[in-house]
Structures are given as C-alpha cells and as structure tokens.
Symmetry: C2
Subunit: 220 residues, 2 copies
C-alpha cells in the first residue's frame, strides 16, 4: 500500500510517500518540502502547493492520502494559511478519487513513538529507524510528513478496510481497529530490528492513543 | 470588467459574477450558492466546492476573482472548514492565472452600504438596488458574494491598475486609489438612481473604510 502524507503549511509543506508491505515493512519512496516566502501573495503560495501536491500525486499514484489535521487553537494568520493549504491538498486528492484521512499531531506522535507528546527529535529518530534510513530524512521538516504517512498505513490502511472518505467525520475511528496489533505477519520471526521497534511502539501507541479518537485533539 | 466573488464555506459557498462597466454600472451575470451537508466527508465537501468554482470560472471567464477574507476569531471547526474552502477557491483562480484579491466583511459592508457594521438586510437591500434587480437576489446567501464582487470592482478593479496577485499582501492597498471617487463617467447626468445611491455609498465608504487597509481587519 502506498500512502502520500501531507504536512500542510504555506512556508513549509511536507510531502512524503511511503510503501508499506503487508508485513508492515515501510519503505521510503520519496519526500520533499515545498513552500514559499511570506513576501509572495497568498494565491501564488497556494498555487505552489497545489502544483507540488498534484505533481506528487501524478508521479506516485498513492492508494491513500493522509493530511495532518490541525486545530485553530491560535488565532493567527499562520493557522489560516495552513488550513487553506490543507484544503488545497485534500481537494487535489479528492479530484482523483483517492481516499483522504486526517490524523492529529498527537496521533502521529503516538503511532511512531508510543507517546502522543513526543518531541520532534524523537519522531525524527523513530521515522529514521522505521524506514531503515542511514541518516535522518532531509530536509528536517520532512520527518513529519513521513510519520504521517506511516501512521496512516498503520492505523487502518493495512487492515483492508481502508480509510474511506466517510471516515473523516467518524470520531471513533481509532477504536475501530482493535485487532490491528494481532494481525498476521506482523510478528513473524523474520521481523527486522526496525519492525520490532515499530511493533513495540505500536503496542505502546495503542495504550496511549487508542481511545483518543480521530476527531479529538485533547492531547494536542 | 467581470468579477467572480466567492463567499467561502463548506455548508454554503456563494459564487457570484458581475459585470461592471467603466461608468460603474454593475450588472448581474449569475449567482449561486453551493455546499454540502455536515454528514459528508471533508474531502467530498471540498471537492464539491472545487468543482463548482472551476465550473463557474470556466463558464464565465472572469477578469478578477475576489474572495472574502476571514479571520480565525473563533476556534471552531467551521472556521477551519471555511479557510479550507477559501484555499480551494483561491488555488482554482491561481491555476488559471486570474488575479485574486481578498476583502474583509467590513470592507464589503462599507463599500455597498457606507457602513462597515451594516447588517445583512442592509447589504442585501443595497445589492438589489446596485444591480437594479426587481427583488432581492436568491438564494439569500448569494447577496454576500454579489456584494463582494461589486466591492472588488469598486475598490480598485475599475482603475485599470487591477488588483494583481502581489497586492494580496499589501496592507496599504485600499489607500492607493485616492482618486477613485473622482473618476470620469461616474457622475454624469445620465447616472441612474442606483448609481447615485452607489456613489453616495462609495463616498461614505471612503471616509469609513479608506484607511482600513487590505491586510487589516481591526474593524471586523
């Protein structure tokens, strides 16, 4: 299964593609960070993101698209710009009929590190291990988009039920995969070190984030 | 000059097209309100708006696109959805190379009624008069998108300098048209009653909103 993750933003918009095998091995396909300076007009900034997302969708034909869900907790222009960028990315996927799911930052942190309050370095470190990379992904902001794509594959995409569009509004989605940790192939003796790390993190995640809910955000 | 105005929203997204002649006569070309119910997924909702905006852009080929600028004053999902919808509309115009401008609600109210704090009924009443309609535009929400398109033509589009994309970030844009009220043709003896109403409102608007700035919002 191929997942394209988008960490939206006008200045830095992370776009990552990962392939996740049935045995949960995750492989980096590509990652980039696009964006524009604040001196550019809003329409040019959104156009740059639109073009990049469309190019990556065309080039990599993902099965699913995951977009980071953010909350308007701070009344700043940055929040609005980020929301506008996410809208552009979601619409680009929807035009192609690709299912879109949203994940909160805490869900992503919990999925890859086991803690919904993990720091940026910890997320980067785990992404590096999960993807079996020789060094942390570059640019640094790319790690968030990679973590998002991994999270999506992990939290449901692999279960064969997919994360269909209708699930975007389902607050109890996270708890609808109670058997994920027991899926076949995940604990075979051929598991790599990274897979074992991942599985351990997943187990911690299920304890920490399983009841969090897709529509939540109380941990953010 | 043809302006397409977008009053963004997931549930109700107003799209209006007006033609504005050099003598400032504004004529209704078309108006609609699209949107989806909250039971639909976010990607389907944004797709519906994306498709509608693209269809109207293709059908009417506007010279300018104006989008209502909103602020994250309330920390609600509605604000985020509205921002996402506006991002989709702005990107659609940008893909076609059509200049995009943003106007705040208070700018729009000031432009068509003379008061930045006018009520919805007052805006609808003035839009009806300015466009020389026999009755208020339907659906009711359409009046906001019409007022936005009229505002854009009025505040700069008619001056021949256009509202280029770079101006989106220019906070002093509103004050860069100091001669607008004295433009030729606006006060000819052939002015209709609606035009006189409009011109009077414009004069009040310049006093009330002229120093407000495009990037402002302190009046909102």
């Amino acid at each position: 299964m191929r997942v394209l993750g988008v960490d939206p933003g006008l200045t830095r918009c992370g776009i990552a593609v990962v392939d996740v095998a049935p045995n949960r091995t995750a492989t980096l396909v590509g990652v980039t960070v696009v964006g524009t300076g604040a001196e550019q007009s809003l329409d040019r900034r959104l156009l740059a993101i639109d073009e990049a997302v469309n190019e990556w969708l065309d080039r990599h034909s993902p099965d699913h698209v995951a977009v980071e869900r953010m909350f308007a907790q701070h009344n700043t222009p940055t929040v609005m710009g980020t929301a506008q960028a996410s809208g552009v990315a979601i619409a680009a996927a929807a035009r192609r009929g690709i299912p879109v799911a949203l994940h909160t930052p805490s869900e992503i942190k919990a999925a890859v590190t086991g803690s919904g309050t993990a720091g940026k370095e910890q997320v980067t470190s785990m992404v590096t291990r999960i993807l079996r990379l020789g060094e942390p992904p570059r640019p640094a902001d790319a790690a968030d988009a990679l973590a998002l794509a991994i999270t999506h594959a992990w939290r449901g995409g692999l279960m064969g039920r997919g994360l269909e569009t209708g699930n975007l509004t389902s607050p109890q989605r996270a708890s609808s995969f109670p058997t994920a940790a027991g899926s076949p192939g995940a604990r075979g003796s051929s598991a790599t070190a990274a897979q074992r790390v991942w599985l351990a993190a997943e187990q911690r995640s299920r304890g920490a984030g399983g009841s969090q809910g897709w529509g939540g955000g109380s941990r953010t």
